[in-house]
Each structure stands twice: as C-alpha cells, then as structure tokens.
Symmetry: C2
Subunit: 479 residues, 2 copies
C-alpha cells in the first residue's frame, strides 16, 4: 500500500508537534494525487460537461419546480446519468407548495401612462381580477421600509430601489436578495397592497427583470410582489421625481395552487472499497421559468455529472462512492436540499466530503473548507492539485457546501466552498437571459476539473474529513 510511508511520516510530524495522534491524520495517497492530476488535465480538454448543459437547456429548457417541464427534467436527468454510465440512478421524493405563474403585466397609470417590464416573484399572490391599482411609495432601502410608519404604507404599492453592485464574489446579492425576500414580507405586515423592487441584478441597462423567491411562507399573508427591470426602475424613479402622485397597475396572475411532489435525481459511481461512504456533489435541476436555466443551474448539474463521468472512466472504481445529486426546487427555498438533509441526517457520518455547484460557470478561484483539523493536510493536498488551474486555498474561511448541500453541512457534513468568479453572474441570474450562450465552455471545463480532482482525492483519502452529527456548528453550519 503506497500510502503507508506518508502516514508514517505524518505520524512522526504529529508526534513531534503533539497536535494529534498519528492514527487520526487524514492523507491522500500519492497514487491518488497523481490520478487526480490526470483527471484535472483531462477535464480541462473535455467537452462532456458542455454537451450535458447544452442537452438540458435545449431539450428541456425552462424547468420551474412543479411545472409541466418538471417531470421532463427528471426524465432527462435519469436518462443522462444512465447514458453517462453511472452505476446507480434513483430518485428521492421532494414535496413542496406549488406556485404557478400564468401571466404578468404592469404599467404606470398616472401621471405618464406606459407599460413596465416586470416579473412576479416566487410565492407572490396574484392581483384581483382586473388588476391592482394603487399609488406608489418609494423607499431607498430595506432599513427605511422597516422604519416606516405603517400609515405611510397602507394600501400603497411599496417600491424599493436598491441598486445591486457587481463583485467577483457576488456578495452584494446578500442585500439584493434580502430586498426581494424580506421586503415583501415587511411591506405586507405594514398593510401594503403590493410590492415592487428594482431587480436584484447587475445588468443596469437591460430591460429584463430578475425573478426569485420572496419570504412569504403563508399564502394568506402574501401580497402581489414583482421586480422591475433596472431601466424600468430608473423610469419609475424619474416619474416619481416629478413630485406628483404616481399610480401603478399590477396585473399578476400567479399564486400557490396546492402541493407538488417532485424528486431529487441521484446518480452514483459506486465505491469499490467503502460503497456506503460518499463524496456528495451536485447542482439543482430546477430553474426559474423565464430562462433556460443554463447558468442557474444547468451548469452545476453538468459540472457534477461530468466530474462523476470522468471518475467513472478511470480503469477502476474509486474507493468511495461519488454521489451526484440533481436537486429539486432549490429556487423556491432549498426544498430539495432540505428534504435530502432530513432524510440523510442520521447517516451524515458516511458523507466523506461534499459541495454543490450553483453559481454559474465562471472559473473557481478560491477553495475553503470546513473539516476537522486532522484533515487540513489533506485539504492542502487537494489545494496543491487545484492551484495550477487558478484555485487559491484560503485556510481561514469555512466551507459551506453550496446551496442545497449547505443543509447536509448543517447536519454535520464536512464541506468545501469552491468559489466561482461571479462577476457577470447577476447580469443573467433569474432572468430570461439565462441561456446557453452565457456559458464559456473552457470556464465550464475548469470547474469540472476542480470537481473531478477534489472528488476523487476525497474518495481515495486515508481517513475522513470529520463529518459527524452537528460537527460544524462552530462554523455557523446548522444554525
């Protein structure tokens, strides 16, 4: 066994520093490192991932959770896993409220009549038949709305004009999405008739609105809520600046119409030594309805599927199982991720390491990890393999596991964060513009190289990364 000398070396070091016992140090065998480098290099010149996302976005297209396209998307995922040669393909049911969008229109009625480009938000209530017509009251921030006297809001359409800023790590989506999720709930609680926001998007000059979920959890308390495109928000603000009462009409035919049971679709490359121990990667299969879900999250599904396929094509199966999960209904509240974590919480110790790709197809530029201290060296070994393709290891940051798999991390799964360049991501996120042409095949391939290499190394590790019930509560997981 080629890894023994390394383990012995580690043992000597540990004895010398007294940090931990030799037995608990996790390492990646040299042969596995070498294979991971080969996987990485092959992935950089492989188009499997691009063909997968082209297939999904062309053959299924938009696939909002619970829509007519939902079963077609699941059938596509099952067929694609099988076509790629996955050893085991199965589904796990996920049940959630069914929200539908039938039509959406908006217009300034007075003082300057003209239509508005907008899109209803997830869990928005529909307007009464004939539409909702009310005066607009503007707030510059969520904080201003929170502080507002309910009398100034009651019966009005609240508008918040927060302008989301462009950043490589996309961090301004924190505030952008808060205006979209918390804003409508606060407005409703103060008696507002409706809610509008400037789209949480960085495409300042595109007449395309960004949808996304609200924080409404009780349909009885929901009000009509929609996002304006950035130029329409500019226009509304210019009209408001005339100082006359501004009346807007919203005509949103949408709402919750019951419950729906979809499924997470799962494909596995079965481990030959520890088949029950899994490296969990994935993306989410659902998309919002206006686009074809290329960057959100066809890319993530393709990255994980193609990474697994590359490991499948090795001469022999990895020691542990590579589990690729195409999650159901991430968009309306991590329903697939939550159902998955609920079902597998007791089993969290078998999850070697995991993370999900859900930030488009920009290259991975940073890795961070939430693992036990004794697995830090192994993470360093992974980092060394990823460094030549532009990934910097930040040992100070925790790893979050991505969107749906954050829920398993919350249960105690050791997790990475593989941070992608999201400079352009919020130009297209949750819009009709989320289409295949936004994906750079070479950047997608870099992601696949990262996922294939790390997954394989984790699967071959001597030792684990610290997954255990509640293991990472100190990193903020599971709160």
């Amino acid at each position: 066994m080629r890894h023994l000398p390394l383990t012995l070396l580690a043992a000597s070091l540990m004895l010398a520093t007294g940090i931990a016992s030799a037995a608990s140090i996790t390492t990646i065998p040299a042969a596995a490192v070498k294979t991971a480098e080969q996987l990485r290099n092959k992935a950089m010149h492989d188009d499997t991932g691009y063909r997968v996302v082209a297939s999904l976005t062309t053959e299924v297209g938009p696939r909002m959770a619970g829509s007519d396209a939902d079963p077609r998307a699941r059938a596509w995922a099952i067929a694609k896993f099988k076509a790629l040669g996955y050893d085991k393909v199965y589904t796990e049911a996920v049940t959630y409220p069914l929200w539908v969008r039938r039509s959406e229109h908006g217009a300034i009625v007075a003082p300057f009549p003209q239509s508005l480009v907008l899109t209803a938000l997830g869990y928005s209530a529909g307007t009464p038949k004939g539409g909702l017509t009310a005066q607009v009251v503007k707030f510059d921030s969520l904080a201003a709305l929170k502080a507002a006297d309910p009398a100034s809001v009651k019966g009005r359409i609240v508008y918040i004009g927060y302008r989301m800023q462009r950043h490589k790590d996309g961090h301004d989506y924190g505030m952008g999405s808060a205006v979209r999720t918390a804003g409508p709930v606060i407005a409703a609680s103060k008696g507002a008739a409706g809610y509008l926001l400037r789209s949480a998007g960085t495409d300042a000059n595109e007449r395309i609105a960004h949808t996304g979920v609200t924080g409404f959890t009780d349909p009885a308390k929901a009000i009509p809520a929609a996002a304006l495109s950035n130029p329409d928000a500019d226009q509304l603000e210019r009209v408001l600046a005339y100082g006359k009462p501004v009346v807007v009409k919203l005509d949103l035919d949408c709402g919750i119409v019951g419950e729906y049971t979809g499924a997470n679709v799962i494909g596995e490359i079965t481990g030959k030594k520890y088949p029950d121990q899994v490296v969990a990667i994935g993306g989410h299969l659902d998309s919002w309805d206006p686009g074809t879900g290329a960057i959100d999250d066809g890319a993530g599904v393709a990255i994980a599927m193609a990474a697994g396929k590359l490991i499948h094509d090795l001469p022999q199966r990895p020691d542990r199982t590579i589990r690729v999960i195409a999650f159901a209904n991430e968009e309306m509240g991590l329903w697939g991720g939550k159902a998955y974590a609920e079902k597998h919480a007791a089993d969290v110790g078998n999850f070697q390491l995991g993370t999900e790709s859900d930030f488009g197809s920009g290259p991975v530029w940073r890795m961070s990890a939430s693992v036990k201290p004794e697995a830090r060296d192994a993470i360093g070994q992974i980092a060394k393999v990823l460094a030549p393709i532009g990934v910097a290891y930040d040992a100070k940051l925790p790893g979050g596991g991505g969107s749906d798999l954050s829920q398993m991390h919350g249960k105690g799964m050791a997790a990475l964060s593989l941070t992608q360049d999201g400079t352009d991501y919020f130009d297209w996120h949750h819009t009709s513009n989320d289409t295949l042409d936004k994906i750079d095949p070479q950047q997608l391939a870099q992601n696949i190289a990262v996922y294939a290499a790390f997954s394989y190394m984790a699967a071959q590790a001597d030792g684990d990364f610290g997954s255990a019930p509640g293991a990472f509560a100190k990193d903020g997981a599971g709160e």
Copy 2:
C-alpha cells in the same frame, strides 16, 4: 460686408480654372463662421438636448404611430417647441394605415416544448384565433429563400437565421433589414404560413427581440411575421440540428385595423432676412412600442430641437429660417417624410440645406454632402468648424438627408449626411431596450453642436447649395 473679399478670391480661382462664374459661388461670411464656432462650443456644454429627450421618454414613453400615445407625443412636441421659445409651431397632417399590436406569443411545440421570445413585425398579419402551428423550414439567407422551390415552403413557417454584424457605420443593417422587409413578402408569395427571422440586431446575447416593419403593402397578402431574439434563434437552430421535424406555434394578435391621421409637428426660428428660405433639420417623433424610443428617435428630435434653441438664443434671428420637423410614423415606412415631401415638392428651391438625425446619439464622425459644385467651398467651411469636434469631411460621398428628409432630397433638396457612430446602435434598435440610459449626454451634446453649427452657417450663407426640382437625381436621390 465681410464676405466680399472671400467671394472675390473664389472668383479669381474659378476664373483661373474655368469651373464656374464668380457670382454663383456660395460662401459663409466670416462673422457667421465665428458665431457658428461659438454655438458649437456652447452646445458641447449644454444639456438642453438631454433634458428634451429625458422629458419625451419619461412623460410620453413608447409612442407607436397611431397608438394612444400618438396624440400625447404630438401635444408634447407642440408644448416643448413653445417652451423652448420657437417663433412658430404648427402641424401638418399625415395619414397612414393603422397597424396595432395587442399581444404576441410563440413556442416550440415539438420536439422540445418551450416558449420563445419574439416580437411581431410591422404590418404582420395576426394568426387565426388559437394560433398558427406549423413546421419550420430554415434558410440561411434571403438568396436561399428566393431560390427555394415553393413546394418546400408551402404551409410552413419560414425561418431565416441571418446574423447581423456590428459596424461603426451600421452598414450590415442593409442586409438585416432586407431579411425583415423582403423576407416575409417572398415567403408569403411562395405560400408560407408564417415567417420568423433572427432579429436584425447585434446584441448576440440578449433575450430581446427587434421589431421593425415588413414590406407588406397589401394586408390581403400579409402573413404572420415575427423576429426571434438572438438567443432564441440560437435555440431554434440547435433544435433544428437534431434533425427531427420542428413545430412552432405563433400566436400574434396584431394587424391593420383601418387608417389613422397623425401629423408632423414643426417648430421654426424665423429668418429675419429670408424667412421663406429654410434650413430643415429634424428627427421622427414616433417610436416602436416596446421601448421608450430614446435612441430611435427621441435623440434625433432632441438634437434638432436643441440645435434650434441654441440659434434662437443668439442676440438676433438668423438670416434664414431654421425649421425643425418632428416627423410622424417614420417607422412603418417614412409616412411623415413622404407626406412632407409631397406637400413641399414644388417649394424645394426654398430649402437651403437639410438633414435629419435618426441613428441614435453616438457622435457624428463623418460629413458628406449633395450640393451644387459652387457650394462645395461653403461645405468646406462648415467642415472646418466641425473638424475640432471629431467630424471628418468626405468630399467623395453624397449626402442623403437622413430618413424622412431623404424624401425632400429626392425632390431636389441639397442635403448633408452626418454619419454617427452606430457601433452599439443595433444592440438596442427597435427593442424594449431603447431607453434613456442608452444615451450618453456628452455624445448627444456633440451632435447638437454639429447641428447648431451647420444649420446656422447654412442659414447665413451668401448663396445657396443648389436645391431645385430633381437637382440631385445623379446622386441617386429621388429614385
């Protein structure tokens, strides 16, 4: 009179070369050149034009010819001319077929059902109630459609996938617009059930369709015709590439519903010496309906209005009248321009010089002219004033007069072409994205500087530029 020495110099030159008699040489007096330079410099730092286009796009917004917004746009123009202090404001009726757009939807029905972003084209027929569902037949070019056997087209939806290329002078719109205007007519003549094109736009990655007029002149021969956004055209082509029959459903509620009488709105700064002789500038007041018509052609209206206003603000009125025309219904076939030329053809000799701005707000980088040879020196004087703000004079090219005023040029009006940088123009042209944020105030100001300076110099010229019935037929005008 300060211009006499110049005239004498010109006379000597002419006598030497024998080209023309001294009496017929047109020149711009030195005082007028100096005033034009001052107008140019002032315009470069004046925001009147930007405020005009902001007012039009905010207070009226979309203003398709014959729509509810048409009378509001006219009322706006009349009020704005008056507010700017124009001496005379009036309208001249323009009658044209009234085409309306009520709604438009499209979808791939088979083999991969999904909706398409498209927009109906001007004079398109509506589809039958319940929509038109037919198989798609693709052609790579207009030439290929022309050559097609009608049997291959009959009952089908013809699709042409011409990709319009980006150029500073926008010349590829020649082919792009031909695919949109001639394509549907040819398809209809061969028995096609419907027509789709890849949008005539350079925004290769925007999910926004470009409308525009077709060549249908007889409603009885029109078929449903629409433009797909570029990413939707990509998608349709990917679906077609699977080699299975592709069925598309079009649901267009649009068509000609009668006749409408709108008007050209005209404002004048009255000439003090030759009030009946006019320098004609302008833009078109109508826009397509999805956008707010900022670049097409709020900019043109604003450039001309603001140029006139700068001349109005001089200590005294110019020698000749500055006539600013906000044309009706340019978009559906130069109706305003044709009506204007019809009405004023007999009077063409009184049109000193003219040109219209209708190519967005990119800076003017080239000037060319169709004038009599004896006015070439005066054009050279204008060129010298415009050179410091980036305008190069091309003495070899003719001047066309712009879109609507090309019709007066066709009757014999001496005309300039003031070519703007249109690198980005076809990203937004005829789309919902034609909004105020696309206008750079400084670039708009440069245009106003050009129009103010040339208009003033033409108004003050000693002599004319050769306008006469049929004068420029040799340049291709009036064909």
